[in-house]
Structure formats: structure tokens, C-alpha cells
């Protein structure tokens, strides 16, 4: 075995941020489901490691209609949520992995091992979630889209969103419980009627579908319009061709569900 890395177990969010610093050379472990195989197979030789299990970052709180989910909350805690978040969480791996994997780990996971990961990104983007994180310049809250684009070198604290009036989640079936979702579309209608649509599996991370959002009055048109927002890719789960054929279908299904739920 390699020489022992420095392993820190911060006991508060502030301690975690201090231990993390600017994140350079730091390995973060929350649930361990993504990082531990990397260590076991020797693909990752951790140096300074921050373990978040005691950092006070787990748990879901509700303040009025605003829901805040700590980064170290297990994915299984979201399974009972309304669409899109609940069904999206239930569609991740299996019972045991969901009990161990964390929301923050999932949201921060980029593409890896021939599959898009970050299953929850799409659902949280559709909910218009705000990400609170810490980095070398201190604490910051920003839309999840910006965190996904520019969040490297930041430690995610929590995600918050306002409960939608209605939500929907449509995904391609997984051949096995351990497959990542090849493609999934989340939709949410805010109290003011605004509809957000987002996709997981059509790029390296989840993304909004603004072209489809502007045409939701006609789901078939919105489905085709969504193709303008993404650049589907080939990977181990599905071909770009298959993704481009199924994205419009999932958008239509999500919008139909949203209509029913409204």
C-alpha cells in the first residue's frame, strides 16, 4: 500500500471548508461510492483527504416552501419527494447504494467510466436549485447551472429550491439497477406558471432545455426543439443517435405528466 494520506474528519461546515481550502490536490469523500473504487483499484492515490461524514452537512430542512438539502444527505432521503426529485432519486442504483451515496457526491460527479453520472443534476436544474458552496474566496450561493459550469475547486454545502406547483420525471428504462440512466428529462412548473425542463445524459453534465421550455404549449414541438439545446454523445450506455431519437419522446412524456400533475 502507498504511504498514508492525511485524512481529515471535519466536524462542522466551516471546518470542512477550512480543510478543503481551494480544493487543489484534495480528495473529498462523502458517501464513498464513487471514490472508494478509484482508491481500491489504484486509479486514485489520495493525498489530503476530507471525509464529510461528521461535517454537519447531512439533512433536509424546510422553511416555508423552500427546501434545503445538505450535500452529505444520503440519496435515499430524497426517494419520498414529489417529482421530479423523488422518482429521479429512486432511479439511482439500488437500495444500498442510495443509502450510502450522497446528494452532493452525485451532483458533483462529472462524466466518468463511459457514462454521464450526476443523475440528480437534471431534476435539481428543473427545480431551479441554488447551490451554496465554499472555496478559496469564501462562501457563495449561485444557480446550480453556474455551479456545474464553474464549481470546480469548490466544496458544495447544500442545495435549495422552492417547492414546485407540479413536477415530472421521464427516463429511459435501465437494463440493470447498476446502470447509470442513459437519458432522463425532468420538468417542474413553478407557482407563477414558469416551466423548467432539464436533461441528464445528453452531455457531460445535466443541462436546461431553454428551446423546449419556450414551446411547452405544444409538447411535440417542444420535444423536437429540445434537440437544439444539446449535443448528444456516444458512450457505453447509448449512442448519440439513440439519445437524439429518444430525447423528444422523454420531453413529451415529461410534459404530459406535468399536465396531469397540474
Amino acid at each position: 500500500m502507498a504511504s498514508a494520506p492525511e485524512v481529515l474528519f471535519p466536524t462542522s461546515p466551516a471546518d470542512a471548508a477550512a480543510a478543503f481550502g481551494d480544493g487543489a490536490g484534495v480528495t473529498v469523500i462523502a458517501g464513498g461510492t464513487i471514490v472508494m473504487p478509484e482508491i481500491s483499484y489504484g486509479r486514485l492515490k489520495p493525498g489530503k483527504t476530507v471525509v464529510l461524514t461528521q461535517a454537519g452537512l447531512a439533512g433536509v430542512t424546510t422553511d416555508g416552501s423552500t427546501v434545503t438539502i445538505g450535500a452529505a444527505t444520503p440519496v435515499s432521503d430524497l426517494v419520498g419527494f414529489r417529482a421530479p426529485l423523488g422518482p429521479c432519486a429512486a432511479n439511482i442504483a439500488d437500495l444500498e447504494i442510495r443509502g450510502q451515496a450522497t446528494v452532493g457526491g452525485n451532483v458533483c460527479a462529472g462524466e466518468g467510466h463511459g457514462a454521464p453520472r450526476g443523475d440528480l443534476q437534471g431534476a435539481l436544474l428543473a427545480l431551479g436549485a441554488t447551490a451554496r458552496s465554499a472555496g478559496s474566496d469564501g462562501e457563495r450561493s449561485e444557480p446550480l447551472e453556474e455551479f456545474l459550469a464553474y464549481g470546480a475547486g469548490r466544496l458544495l454545502f447544500d442545495l435549495s429550491f422552492v417547492e414546485p406547483a407540479a413536477g415530472a420525471f421521464a427516463a429511459l428504462d435501465r437494463p440493470h439497477t447498476h446502470d447509470y440512466t442513459a437519458l432522463a428529462v425532468s420538468a417542474a412548473r413553478a407557482a407563477d406558471g414558469t416551466v423548467r425542463l432539464a436533461v441528464t445524459g445528453a452531455g457531460t453534465h445535466g443541462q436546461r432545455l431553454p428551446s423546449a421550455e419556450s414551446k411547452t404549449s405544444d409538447p411535440a414541438v417542444a420535444g423536437e426543439a429540445a434537440l437544439a439545446d444539446v449535443t448528444p454523445h456516444d458512450d457505453a450506455l447509448a449512442s448519440a443517435w439513440y439519445r437524439s431519437k429518444t430525447l423528444p419522446v422523454l420531453v413529451r412524456r415529461a410534459l404530459a405528466q406535468l399536465e396531469e400533475a397540474s
Binding site: 500500500m1 498514508a4 494520506p5 485524512v7 474528519f9 469523500i29 458517501g31 464513498g32 461510492t33 472508494m36 473504487p37 482508491i39 481500491s40 483499484y41 489520495p46 483527504t49 471525509v51 461524514t53 461528521q54 442504483a93 439500488d94 437500495l95 444500498e96 447504494i97 443509502g99 450510502q100 439497477t177 447498476h178
Partner: protein
């Protein structure tokens, strides 16, 4: 660092990022958790952490704190098998045995949490466990039997003509 397994506390020398699986097998010599895929994909290393089924290959031992770990050795003894162990014997739910410990621990937790004998619910609860012998039908039957509260007379099981190859009587 201390680790409590099956009610006994051990002083652990492995580093904090060593997987619980490696600590159990290599340091403590508890070999019922199997090193199958070592990436969370097969379920053969599943143990109970404070009663919840967890993949021991994915748990850094340092993150356990004071949690209690249970392996299948802690479920029952050869002369005092736990209901799930009796059911696996009675229903012939073990073939090569590689997945059996993980399956039994996940099934034990499922039943302890009030799981029903519904096949789909059992399949969902055990969905992360791969049986390379593909003996899923018998496994689900065994779990359903425990969920129903069936009792098992293993002397009769062993004497049954169709079951002579699970030990006991010819």
C-alpha cells in the same frame, strides 16, 4: 481506531481510507463478506452497518465512527441459525455460496424493516445483489418465507429425498 464487529471491539491498524471489506477480510480474518467486483456492483461484500445493509467495499473504515458492523457470522451460530439462514437452507437458496452472505444480510434487513413477501418488493430490495449461479427464484422464495413468518424443520429438510445434497442424510 476501534471497530465493533458482531459485538466484539477490535483495535484496527489499517489506514482510515482502507475499505471496510479489506479490514474485515485481511486484518480481522472475517471472510464471509466476499471481494467480488470491489466497485459496489455485485453486493457480495454487503454487511450491516448499524443494521442497514452497506457495501463494505465502498466504506472507508475511518468513516464508521462508533457504528456497529454485523457480518453473517453475527446473525446466528451453526446450532442456532437465524430465520433467514434457516430459510436459505430449507429453500435451497445457496448454490456456490459466493453471494449468499450478502443476500442473507440484505434480506435480514429487509424483513427486520417490515418487508412483505411480495416478490417485486423483495427483488427491489435485493436488486443490487448478483447471483452468478442465477438462483434468484429460490432466494426470493426463501426471503418471502421469512417475511411470512414460516418456521422450518431443518431435520426434515435434510431428510427430504430431493434435498439430499445439502448435507445430512442420504
Amino acid at each position: 481506531m476501534n471497530l465493533t464487529v458482531n459485538g466484539s471491539t477490535h483495535e484496527i491498524e489499517s489506514g482510515a481510507l482502507t475499505s471496510l471489506l479489506d479490514v474485515l477480510r485481511e486484518e480481522l480474518g472475517i471472510t464471509s463478506p466476499k471481494a467480488g467486483c470491489e466497485q459496489g456492483g455485485c453486493g457480495a461484500c454487503t454487511v450491516l452497518v448499524d443494521g442497514a445493509p452497506r457495501r463494505s467495499c465502498l466504506v472507508p473504515v475511518g468513516a464508521l465512527g462508533n457504528a456497529e458492523v454485523t457480518t453473517v457470522e453475527g446473525l446466528g451460530a451453526p446450532d442456532d441459525l437465524a430465520p433467514i439462514q434457516q430459510a436459505f437452507t430449507h429453500h435451497y437458496a445457496a448454490q456456490c455460496g459466493f453471494c449468499t452472505a450478502g443476500m442473507m444480510l440484505a434480506a435480514h434487513a429487509y424483513v427486520e424493516n417490515g418487508g412483505s413477501d411480495d416478490q417485486h418488493a423483495i427483488a427491489e430490495a435485493l436488486g443490487g445483489h448478483v447471483c452468478r449461479c442465477t438462483g434468484y427464484v429460490k432466494i426470493i422464495e426463501a426471503v418471502a418465507a421469512v417475511a411470512r413468518g414460516d418456521s422450518f424443520d431443518l431435520a426434515t429438510t435434510a431428510a427430504s429425498p430431493g434435498m439430499t445434497n445439502i448435507g445430512g442424510v442420504k
